[in-house]
């Protein structure tokens, strides 16, 4: 037990550094996912049919293949055809585009569950279609999508764990180095597991709090 505490003290600083990188990647990727995912979601519902098809293909590609392989294609494959990205950039881009695919679907589902009468009423007071989407439909859809989005945010922390395989010094990356340095893989990875569990727990609590704060009476999963 004493040895374990000893080990714990030795590895914690490095693991903490890794945690910071993990958080960075998670936040940036989530944000990228929102920025790309929102227009895709809207395009899937309100865009012309040809656009819906193209976007559908994008979604099928990103949702139908493993994140890890997408990462390898971006980091190892793209340089082959002239686009070279750094490790972190590749991580941000891949996780971001991947998350965008899922966020777009949550948004699409939410947009479609906003009742049609809302659009009708908005047009009746003279709003154009896009004004109505922006000022009336989207604000409601975003709130409806919040639970699904929260899940995505929490899950993102777990998804970042594969980037160590392209040598990004995140939590798992540090763990790998420390595991071989101290010849104690099981203990190190168990400690790392605890780190992730705590991160996930905190993220979950924060998001539940946000959900509660932004709740509007009457705007739940079954909006009228």
């Amino acid at each position: 037990m004493h040895d374990f505490i000893d080990l714990l003290n030795k590895v914690t600083p490095d693991l903490w550094q890794g945690t910071v990188v993990t958080l960075q990647i998670a936040v940036v990727s989530l944000a990228l996912g929102m920025i790309v995912g929102l227009p895709i979601g809207v395009g899937r519902v309100y865009g012309p049919v040809w656009l819906q098809r193209i976007l559908g293909a994008y979604l099928t590609l990103f949702q139908g293949t493993p994140l890890l392989i997408q990462l390898f294609v971006v980091y190892y494959g793209l340089p082959d055809i002239g686009v070279t990205l750094g490790r972190l950039q590749a991580a941000f881009l891949t996780l971001g585009l991947n998350s965008a695919a899922y966020q777009a679907e949550y948004l699409r589902s939410a947009l479609q569950s906003v009742s049609e009468g809302q659009m009708t009423a908005a047009r009746a007071i003279g709003m154009s279609k896009w004004q109505a989407i922006w000022s009336v439909i989207l604000p409601q859809a975003v709130r409806l999508a919040l639970p699904a989005w929260s899940n995505e945010a929490v899950a993102m922390l777990k998804y970042t764990s594969v980037v160590f395989l392209i040598a990004v010094p995140d939590l798992m990356g540090q763990a790998k180095i420390l595991a071989s340095r101290y010849f104690a893989p099981i203990q190190i990875y168990l400690i790392v597991a605890v780190f992730y569990i705590v991160l996930v727990g905190i993220a979950y609590l924060i998001l539940t709090l946000i959900e509660r704060r932004t709740r509007i009476p009457g705007l739940t999963g079954d909006a009228a």
């Binding site: 009468g117 009708t120 047009r123 007071i125 709003m127 004004q131 409601q140 509007i216 009457g218 705007l219």
Partner: protein, 245 residues
């Protein structure tokens, strides 16, 4: 004879092979209150949605004041600013308070400044008797209150004509009174109104003209007294008999 505020000329509306309106013509004078009655499926709601171009007619022409709004190239969004509409299912914006619902059109469409919009919105809410509920969300309002907010929202756009599509049909009986009272007040203030409704009491008291539609055409029209007491057509008589029971 003043010029009519609304002129509907031989309007047809089909959805694919289904013909809903089969040649409707109607003229409405300023400050007139026209009540449209008829069995369901007669095309009354469809006609309203043709007037404000939500579902433009397949054939026929409509003039609002002196502008032909069915002409190609007309800015339909613009036209809809001058025509107010109140729906059976209210369609209040669920993510906004009552005040927000009235303000959003003022800010986004009429491009007013926030504080001007706020004052005008409060004025309209006052007009329908709901100033004290300004900060409530739709889910926290009763049906009658929701509908009154919907009326305030439409009024905020300063419409020249108001269309009501069965405004009380989705309300519990004890709540219809408050909505009809607001509509009566509007009429007294001189608003031109076209109302689709089954509320015969309202028609008798407030309407200047009652129009009976069936099967996509206007069968008969006249003053409430003429229509209710001496209808000419048998179909009108049959309908009124059913309704009165």
């Amino acid at each position: 004879m003043t010029s009519p505020i609304l002129r509907i000329e031989d309007v047809h509306k089909s959805y694919g092979s289904l013909q809903v309106l089969k040649g409707v013509s109607l003229t409405v004078q300023p400050r007139e209150v026209v009540v449209l009655v008829g069995p369901s499926g007669s095309g009354k709601s469809t006609l309203l949605r043709c007037i404000n171009l939500l579902n433009p007619p397949t054939k026929g022409r409509i003039w609002l004041e002196d502008q032909e709004i069915t002409a190609p190239g007309v800015n339909q969004d613009r036209v809809r600013q001058s025509i107010g509409m109140v729906f059976q299912e209210f369609n209040l914006f669920t993510h906004l308070t009552a005040l927000g619902n009235v303000m959003i059109g003022l800010v986004k469409v009429r491009k007013m400044r926030k504080h001007e919009a706020h004052d005008l919105a409060m004025f309209e809410l006052e007009r329908v008797g709901l100033a004290d509920r300004a900060h409530y969300y739709p889910a926290q309002l009763s049906g009658g209150q929701k509908q009154r907010v919907a009326i305030a929202r439409a009024l905020g756009m300063d419409p020249h004509i108001m269309l009501f599509d069965e405004p009380t049909s989705a309300l519990d009986p004890e709540l219809t009174g408050e909505v009809l009272a607001v509509m009566q007040k509007l009429a007294a203030e001189g608003m031109t109104m076209i109302v689709v409704s089954h509320e015969m009491g309202f028609a008798r008291q407030v309407a200047n003209r009652v129009v009976f539609m069936e099967d996509g055409v206007v069968v008969e029209e006249g003053t409430p007294q003429q229509m209710f007491e001496q209808p000419v057509h048998e179909r009108t008589r049959a309908f009124l008999r059913n309704i009165m029971q």
